[in-house]
Symmetry: C2
DNA sequence: ATTGTATAGTTACCTAGGTAACTACTTTGC
DNA sequence: GCAAAGTAGTTACCTAGGTAACTATACAAT
């Protein structure tokens, strides 16, 4: 199997298309998908450091720094003083929680619509395959 | 099913990880993966316009313009005069064909290594699922 | 033939990912 | 207790995707 008109090519196209459409939807609540990922994480896990976010999302630290700065400028997150002076511990503000709740509805509806018509079994196989490939990439 | 610890999140992580590793491999022949996509296309379909490339790769025109400019600066492609003065018809140079051949080996080895251990059937289901989702995104 | 519309490509500017190199702080080892 | 190593985060700069608005050319309709 060749790269083109093949598996990986389509997967990349799907990913691009997906984030594009998700950004369109999230524009309703004035968020970008990268911001949504961090807002979601903070809502679920509470107060965190940038490294924790970086590890969870599997995104490099400079990228996290930039997105977190944007969220802070918009007062969706706030800093918490901590013991370790190197760390930047952040959490959602009240406004951030509110935005999360609005965004959650938008994302869930978007996902639900996209998923409808897909067999549960096919989804499982796909997820297992992608995880297999992801793990294999980590090793190499 | 929720977005996080869910299907789409993992798919995006996989895509990022994949392009990252592919770029590492393609560095051997001094190419980036976006350049490789265009070089591959030109080798397969011959002399083309930027719009044709844009449609095939499902990437917006400005992005294609930029990547093509890089390829031209490196003398991997050359312009061909045509009837329609709006068009920019390009093809691989001799050096471009040579680079394609070298890159092809690198990419094929990378893909083959990644694919090994995956059942043919699982791969088919995965590809079908991704295509289904991709088509659904186009409609929405 | 002229006028309006469609198309090819570019420019400017935005988000989003990456690496390399750096600062500031913490921890560890002797 | 001090020097070395490790860690958190930032800065600068690169590729790579996107949109909006623009120019220049081609085509179509009246």
């Amino acid at each position: 199997m060749s790269f083109h008109n093949g598996f990986f090519h389509h997967n990349l196209q799907f990913s691009r298309s997906f984030t594009k459409k998700l950004n369109e939807q999230l524009a309703k609540v004035d968020l970008f998908h990268s911001q949504w990922l961090i807002v979601y994480y903070l809502n679920q896990f509470g107060c965190s450091t940038l490294v924790e976010i970086s590890n969870y999302l599997d995104v490099e630290k400079p990228t996290v720094t930039r997105t977190v700065n944007r969220l802070e400028e918009r007062d969706l997150i706030e800093q918490i003083p901590g013991k370790d002076k190197r760390e930047r511990r952040i959490q959602l503000t009240e406004s951030g929680v509110k935005t999360f709740q609005e965004a959650k509805k938008v994302v869930e509806e978007f996902e639900h619509q996209l998923m409808s018509g897909l067999a549960e079994e096919e989804l499982e196989v796909t997820q297992r395959t992608l995880n297999f490939l992801k793990e294999k990439l980590k090793q190499s």
